[in-house]
Amino acid sequence: MNFINGILGFGALAFTVPLIIHLLFRSRFKTVQWGAMHLLDNVLRVNRRRMQLTQLLLLLLRCVIPMLLAFCLTRPVLTGSRAGSGEIPKTLIIALDDSLSLAAAPEGEQPRIEYAKAELTKVLNELTRRDEVILVRSSRLGAVPGKMGASEAANVLRRVSAQGDAVPLGRLIESAVSATQQASNDRRQILLVSDFQTAALDSASLEISRQVASELEADVAAELNAPVIDIMNVAAPWNQLNNVAIQSVELTSPVVVRSRPAVFEATLHNASDTPASGLRLVWSIDGQPLEPRSINIDARSTLTNRLTHVIDQAGEHVVSISVDAADSLLDDNQRSTVVSVADQIDVVLVDGTPSNQALGGQADFLAIALSPFAFGGDERPDPVSATVTSAYRLIKQLDEDPPHVIILAGVNRPPKELMPKLTSFVRQGGSLIVLDGPQVTAEAVNKSWQAGEDQIALPALLGEMTGEINRQPDEESSRYQVDTPSSQYRPWSILSQDQENPFGSIDLFAYRKLTLPETSTIPDDVDQPAQQATDDIAAQSDANRQTSASQVLLRTMQGDPLVITQAVGQGTVVQFAFACHDEWSNLPLRPVFLPMIQQMVLDLGGHRGQHLLSPGQPIVIKKSQWLQADNDPDDSAQNAKQSSREDRQSVYWLQTPDERVQLQPVGDDETIQWTATYQPGLYRFEKLTAERQSLQPAAGADQSKSPDKAADQVDSTPAESTLRLAVIDANESMLKGATDAQMDEFAKTLKAEVFTQATSLVDADRTRSFGREIWFWIWVAVVVFLVAELWLQQHLVRRNRNQSASSLPGSAHARTSSTVGGKA
């Protein structure tokens, strides 16, 4: 404790004044020679004790009052256990949660981000010129935060908008603590500003907070300069926020093929307590709105809306949905996705044992299943174009016009020249299906498909044959039943929509024992899309990755794997343990065979590029991911080849949601990178040929803006393009606050104080810096003691005197005196 006017503390000696007065007056009293002492005896004894107590109390109060007054005048300052930091300049690290949920605005109020900015501006206004500010935004955790002055920080803050993705607050505080290393000043304060959604304070977030707190404790123990953490909760009352949100837009068809109907599905959620009726819902393709729909969503319920639509042009298209709802959060009333519309999917079948007889070859049943309309004489185009060829022709075709899917049906020994080409084909995104056959021997196949530097391996090793190939299905022989397909494999989910085993009527006469390598199999029940997404991200980050875990798609009733899939590079290898021929099973003769093969091939042939990303996630475009912008299906392959030859003369442009930017490729493989994806929305990457480049002015630096005129010219004739869409997690639309327990634990873990207003935060910080002046409370105590002294004197000392004055006419003897003369 410090004193601002310590010298005034000597004023406390004034307590001697009442003490002396008391001692002087103690000897002053009146003496009365009293007769009726026997009436006073007991009263005197009791009164004397009471009077002593009262006088003592009064004396105490009268002594304390001048002492407290002197104490008050010294202006004591509470500084806690350590001395206040005073005027030492500080570095304020503002960890601002600018996720989408802060854009929510209660009815008639401004969005919470504006409130947060206003409060932060108040905090900034309290800073001095020597203080510095580091702004860490949750939407830009990857960016290196810069130091700035308070006024500049206020300007930066003015431009902040709540459009970021959901970020665990643990990570935000972790980034803020890392940013303290850049601080120039010894005194550091981290101010975490957020609305504290429950999703942002999950267990993982709390765990990160604990780690951060333990590191800070270690710093304190090592006498390093640890920052002080404060929390500002800018959440509105959550029950005042009513929100209708589009949670997701997904493509439910396995693949979208040009001129074929595709099904899209959107999930809408009404988080309010009142039903939303008559909402206008609009689907749009590439910005072209379709017929509006009217929907009703019950309170606290979810609605699914489907769109079946035919897209006539191949390429990447943006499918959007928007709903007109006047709710607290408008930004989540529209959501988009990017779909790749494939041209006809080219499938090349290589028959290991071709036959002149109808349906005699190993690939014949497959060829019919893949092109049913062409086989049946229908005029409608098949989504799949199936061609049966030989292995040697395939080698040539792989060089000239690689198909989407290659099916090797009963090929025992692929030509040696084919293997590296197949490897390259698969790693670059092609799909390979390998089927068993009568000529296939385990030794030959296992030898041919060995993993190596430039070669891929099949998902499983071939083993012995189980059962016998039945050339005469009527004969009695061993038959094997097929189990229900893996529910996680979405292309086949339409086969078992009636919940019955779609392969229940299938008799398998023979199949090959497949042996899976250990620790390479993932369970059937692992979420396939999640796995898919994981694999895709991994593929982007690690281009040299060879294989991933395999998944069994189909088993016998005994549990032996029949169909196994494995992602290799950016492509997929599917291995069958049997041949699709009526000698092996009656599967090709059953209705389930056609959709089974069709769906699988469509899934494999469809372009599965990762178009969606979270805001802030970097975009890397590889050479192979460019799509022909000139959507002529006949010339696409040729154009692709042509463009690959002209890569080195290409110019790259990016249209972000806000601006148009020219990019420079990174490295020799023409990879394009863009990291500033903080803005949710569409990012269109365009590649122009050399001739078109000549129309453009000289390119600027990497990721530099270009003049508007050039942008217009480029925009008119892009050669190749690809789309990426930054979408915000649906959790941000779930406007639900963290519980008190979560908040308490979070604050307790970080040893942080929680504030809701800047004024209280500034006061608390001032107290930390300078200590807390307590003169006001002492002054209050002085006033209380003065009042107590007066009360004590009036009520305990003077009371009886007042009573005596008021009750004089009614004294006992006065009444009895009036009865003089009467018989008592």
Binding site: G35, L40, V43, T54, N800, A812, K823
Partner: protein, 302 residues
């Protein structure tokens, strides 16, 4: 010592007009103004009653016998004297003198005046008057006499040197009762400080001897109102006890409660024993008190 030293001439003239009448019939030897319960030789005829065996023959009214042939006894009203004993408290507590008392008199001086007035007035009626002063013991005794010169020894005894002893009315009354022979009027003048039960016992003994008792309780106005405030040290007039300084205002309520209880108990004791209790404060003129009392008695007797 003369009566004029104690009673003002104006008061004396008013006093002489008083005729104290015992409410009850008091037995006396001398013929006086008071009626006697004894039927004797008197000129005032009272009544006839039928002769019964044992009546003296001289009392038979022969004239009535002659007229009615029946024997009647003739009864006459007999007048008697009032034997008045004055019991005056001269204990230490009677020495208290408050500011409001008439001429700053103490309770004792007031009591002396009152007793002298009584004596003067009774002797004026040729009634015998005696005096006993006491505190916790009998101090002075003046026998009953009815001659006018008897006032001097009474006044001398009254103005004797005051004592500072405590009061014990109960035990003193028990000692006095045998000394007062025949029934008569007993006038007690005291501040009645002491145990009420003991006082009640004494009063009962007086009443058992057929005495008529007047109890004048003399209190100073200060003792009734307790108008003190501030730091006061009360010195006991009867005991030498440790002096105690108190806040007088704070004890007033408790004191008045105790005084009320004490007076209430005394009033009840007097009522039980058919004793006239007359509370008097020293700010009341004593002759007025006597006038009021006598007037009230007259109304009751008639």
């Amino acid at each position: 010592m003369r009566i004029l030293d104690l009673v003002k001439p104006k008061d004396l003239s008013r006093l002489s007009q008083l005729q104290l009448l015992a409410k009850d019939v008091v037995e006396g030897y001398t013929t006086g103004r008071h009626r006697s319960p004894h039927k004797g030789f008197s000129v005032e005829f009272k009544e006839h009653r039928q002769y019964v065996q044992g009546d003296e023959l001289k009392n038979i009214d022969w004239k009535v016998y002659g007229k009615s042939d029946r024997l009647y006894i003739r009864q006459y009203e007999e007048e008697t004297t009032l034997r008045c004993n004055l019991l005056v408290d001269v204990s230490g507590s009677m020495n208290y003198a408050g500011d409001k008392a008439i001429e700053g008199n103490s309770k004792r001086e007031y009591a002396v005046g009152l007793a002298a007035s009584f004596a003067y007035f009774m002797l004026g009626q040729q009634d015998p008057v005696g005096l006993i002063t006491f505190d916790n013991q009998l101090r002075r005794e003046v026998p009953l006499r009815s001659r006018p010169g008897h006032l001097t020894p009474i006044l001398t005894a009254l103005t004797d040197k005051p004592t500072e002893r405590e009061t014990d009315l109960g035990s003193v009354f028990r000692k006095i009762v045998p000394k007062i022979g025949r029934r008569g009027l007993v006038v007690i003048i005291s501040d009645s400080m002491g145990d009420v039960d003991s006082i009640a016992t004494g009063l009962a003994q007086f009443r058992s001897r057929k005495h008529e008792v007047l109890f004048f309780q003399i209190l100073d106005p200060d003792e009734v109102e307790f108008p003190f405030g501030g730091r006061i040290q009360f010195h006991d007039l009867e005991h030498a006890i440790a002096e105690q300084t108190v806040d007088a205002a704070s004890i007033r309520g408790a004191y008045l409660e105790r005084l009320e209880a004490h007076n209430g108990a005394l009033r009840d004791a007097c009522r039980r024993n058919r004793v006239d209790w007359i509370p008097v404060t020293t700010d009341q003129p004593m002759v007025d008190v006597l006038h009021q009392y006598v007037a009230a008695r007259r109304r009751l007797v008639r």
